[in-house]
Symmetry: C2
Subunit: 240 residues, 2 copies
């Protein structure tokens, strides 16, 4: 902590940079806006009992079978072979997901979540639950690392924008000595008046728009549509 | 290359991400604005015969002794033990550096330069030679990677801002499908009206300002004070 006794707030723009951060002494927020962490909070908001994030499709199938869970995940934007559902938050309305277990595998978000396993606490963040995330971080008073899942380790706009939005909201409560946090907030301020239009430049926007997923993107960029806090405990994400 | 037959322009925000880029088929621009690449172009602009970038202080001392060169380099902002000069561009006026060889070691820039050794061509960029860099890249018509030296692999504001300035100037000639390039240009556009004030937030500004180096920073953020193109050939940087 700094001399002013505020905890630190840092942004990690790619999983390939996470080793540079003091994960063990921080709460880590996993950010995979399009669409894993938006889907996780949506499923929990709609009453899912838990979400089990797993790395591989095989693990997803096996765990899903063992516990009677709903298996979901995509590879390169399409439902992975052997799984039943995808990463769209619209696949998980209350009438479908309530009291169910969702077993979810995603390329980027799940990987980062497992990399951060030694953190004080792991939560997941995205625009649909941004207020819950910010309230939690301020209340905890611990060091925070905002961990962008990125795209195959490449920095992406959507996760950086979300990190910047969080910095913008809660920076008064933290000591910020991190250029990535300043860059992310500057990016967010440049984009915030019309994030959806800004995102049309993004590589991931183009990939998803090719699959007709503009509605997903719009939802995933809108604050507080599923304002719940997913906490990672014992290998599961549950609503706090 | 893309369907529109323009070469690609990408930004790599940290050496720790360089493996994600196709270095072999690109011109790589090494960017270490504060202060290695600003100093390199200044020395060459003022008539240095060549700059030999080396990784270690020991190598710097040995090569400097063998060829009668000027040994220079810093570690954590101070002249490294055993070397005679530092990283300030103001140490290299024409009356001192003309026809001399500068043997320079820096933590971040030199490392990245050696990592990019398989590129089609390596040049160095910084605000003092931004026009020379942009003119060269447009004229070559090859794929380009703008490689930020960063700070011990952490993304920094100054190198990202310079990358964004280059994107802003030459993007019409390239195909940009890189979120880091869009983020860098957005950052540059947000900062460009007063880059010096914007940079006062940066971690590296604070480090250097503690050493009284505001004048260095101002120079390193000002376009075209030493508008020459440093080309890396056979282990040496020479003015094109």
């Amino acid at each position: 902590m700094s001399e002013n006794h505020k905890p630190s707030l840092e942004v990690c723009l790619s999983p390939a940079l996470l080793h540079l951060y003091d994960v063990k002494n921080s709460i880590v927020v996993i950010i995979d806006v399009l669409r894993a962490t938006s889907t996780i909070c949506t499923a929990l908001y709609n009453g899912a009992a838990r979400v089990i994030p797993v790395a591989s499709v095989e693990e997803c199938v096996n765990i899903g079978r063992a516990i009677g869970g709903i298996t979901a995940g995509e590879r390169d934007g399409r439902i992975a072979e052997g799984l039943v559902h995808g990463n769209s938050p619209f696949e998980y309305p209350r009438e479908f997901i309530e009291n169910q277990t969702l077993v979810l595998t995603t390329t980027n978000g799940t990987k980062l979540l497992h990399m951060a396993k030694d953190a004080i606490q792991i939560i997941t963040g995205s625009f649909p639950n941004i207020s819950a995330v910010c309230d939690y971080l301020v209340a905890q008073g611990q060091n925070v690392i905002l961990g962008c899942a990125a795209w195959k380790d490449r920095v992406n706009l959507e996760d950086t924008l979300f990190a910047g939005a969080v910095v913008n909201r809660i920076k008064a409560h933290f000591d910020i000595n991190c250029d990535s946090a300043i860059a992310a907030e500057t990016l967010y301020n440049a984009a915030k008046d019309d994030i959806y239009t800004f995102m049309k430049q993004a590589t991931h926007y183009k990939r998803l728009a090719n699959f007709g997923l503009e509605k997903d993107i719009q939802y995933c960029l809108t604050p507080d549509g599923a304002n719940v806090l997913p906490l990672f405990k014992n290998g599961e994400l549950i609503a706090e």
